[in-house]
Symmetry: C2
Subunit: 218 residues, 2 copies
């Protein structure tokens, strides 16, 4: 029984890491779709969210089953609880990548990202995809990312968001209201995606410390 | 032991209902703050989020303790799992009300809501606060809201969001980029708040059916 429980926990971790890699891939493609007005890539991201939803339902149900059948305590219980939080985060990350892809689809063939915003979104997209990939690695290694690295990523996302608003609200902004509104929402989706990725990278530490990370308790 | 477990579950439900009423109150005040540029009310909402965070941490920890000490199964397990989902939703609802209040504070003494957007936000704010109050009632009565009522609320939020974009993107929009961007973000926060409230009202049914609601599995 104990052995099969550990096998189940390892399978959960594998699937969470797989979901994090999928989220990273979805966000890379969504960023490319929004920068290039690439409809096929936008459609791909939107269709991938079904895979994410299916993985979510499966992992969530297996967590509940483990609680029912194994009644884990201490570190094992924290692992299952943190898996339940992580799978919810990952599901939202898929939704957020899909939101960006849907804006690309809705506005196609117009390029949604006017010139001055392009480098900001390129960096936000890269950072978001990298954070999701790092979360996958942290899950694989059962080793949370260093707090300093996550704090630095948080700070950079905040700085990019401020930079975005400076561009949109500048009197030189010549692209009108609609692209500005789209850009503000896309910026918000990047930011939330990064928040969830950081929460997961920190969650891996919950097993060790018993302390839920900030995203989940503040 | 069983009796104290039921007492604990009832205490959890009481605190979740209390959090839902707090979220409703925070959203009412945030709406008023944004409509009237009322700085004191904005500050009140922002400070209330500490109370929400503290309730969240306490309820979350008690859920984990119940899993560890009582090893619940079947309907009892589903109640604890749904409480863990609901407390996360409620925490986000507090954050979202706070986001709206922070925009009111940041832009004070400017009124952030230009004329044509006012009735849309008035309705979104009322609907969001009502949904949170209904979620509290559903928790108190251990009786999920009717699916038709929730579907109708979802549809109305979607319609209001479309109406908002029509106003912002209309060629008659004369208020510039910054108020449009603020309005789009505020609209997003209302929408997410309503999504979470609907998820909670549906969650109450999880105990009965064993089926997680859409917000949590899609």
């Amino acid at each position: 029984m104990r052995e099969s429980f550990q096998v189940e926990l390892d399978r959960l971790a594998d699937d969470l890491a797989r979901m994090a890699r999928l989220a990273s891939e979805m966000m890379s493609h969504a960023s490319e779709a929004i920068q290039q007005a690439d409809l096929a890539l936008a459609e791909l991201v939107i269709s991938k969210d079904d895979e994410m939803d299916a993985l979510h339902d499966d992992v969530e149900q297996r967590c509940v089953n483990l609680l029912a059948l194994q009644a884990p305590v201490a570190a094992d219980l924290r692992t299952v609880v943190s898996a339940m939080h992580a799978v919810a985060d990952l599901n939202r990350m898929g939704d957020l990548a899909q939101h960006i892809a849907k804006i690309a689809r809705l506005k196609h063939p117009t390029v949604t990202v006017p010139g001055p915003v392009r480098p900001v979104f390129a960096r936000m997209g890269l950072l978001a995809a990298e954070l999701a990939a790092s979360a996958a690695e942290a899950i694989d290694k059962r080793d949370p990312l260093g707090g300093e690295r996550l704090d630095a990523a948080d700070d950079e996302v905040d700085a990019l968001r401020r930079q975005l608003f400076q561009i949109l609200f500048d009197e030189d902004w010549a692209h009108g209201v609609e692209p500005a509104v789209d850009a503000a929402l896309i910026g918000r989706y990047y930011e939330r995606f990064a928040d969830h990725a950081v929460a997961i990278a920190r969650l891996v530490g919950y097993r060790v410390t018993g302390q839920l990370p900030a995203e989940h308790h503040a």
